[in-house]
Symmetry: C2
């Protein structure tokens, strides 16, 4: 079969369910295992340098919220999820690391499919594509603006 193991990378925004449903359908059609990852961008990454306050509490809070949202999302899709990971670091590098570690066949990620705003928002699909150890399925999401 085409794919045995699928890594769904989500940002846990409202759009995630659309991307998750596509990954779930793909998983069903292929009989493939589904692993879901959410990367919490380390705050010093997001702000481009050292943060002069103790951010441990904030980071922990972010992790807790992420895990709660992950649970909700998992309950909304109709295929069994093999594993969920909430990890911290650079978004693309963490996705690639987990893809490699778990030897997945394809990464599924949302894409805004546009030049302008996508670049401002940080074009994750594009970043995931470069350097990916496997295939990448970019699922087109239309942002409501």
């Amino acid at each position: 079969m085409l794919y045995k193991k699928i890594l769904l990378a989500i940002d846990l925004t409202d759009e995630s369910i659309k991307v998750a449903n596509k990954a779930a359908e793909l998983s069903k059609a292929m009989g493939a295992e589904l692993v879901i990852i959410h990367v919490i961008e380390a705050l010093n990454y997001a702000y481009g340098g050292d943060v002069p306050i103790d951010i441990t509490d904030i980071q922990n809070q972010l992790k807790e919220t992420a895990r709660e949202r992950m649970t909700v999302l998992e309950s909304q899709i109709d295929v069994p999820v093999k594993e969920t990971c909430v990890t911290q670091g650079g978004i693309e590098s963490e996705i690639h690391r987990i893809a490699d570690e778990k030897d997945v066949d394809v990464i599924v990620v949302g894409s805004h499919g546009r030049h302008g705003l996508a670049l401002l928002l940080g074009s994750t699909a594009n970043g995931v594509l470069h350097g990916a150890p496997c295939d990448v399925l970019a699922v087109r999401v239309h942002r409501s603006e």
Copy 2:
């Protein structure tokens, strides 16, 4: 089903069969129609300006070669191909135009998955991703170097 119509975009190099086989497997798993496109980059695109010679013969030769290679490729994959297109223009814009015109659900394209050389070679997967009217599956190909 996840996808009803798949557009496979290929450059007709030796790597194309790998990408084509993935598209064929996806088509089989989904019961989806498969359309194949090859874009001949207009020579004035490729050389970034007007070409001061009559290039009609060269372009016709390129088209003929492309159609021959398309026929060979079609015979190598084991699913029926609904339609093949050989078109001319900018690679990404032509792929997007045909995807839109034929209302496809996903574009399948090869990707070298690397930063450095991929940029030099013209990162088509990346270009196809931006502005695509649908999902994009980038199939990782390892170039033999």
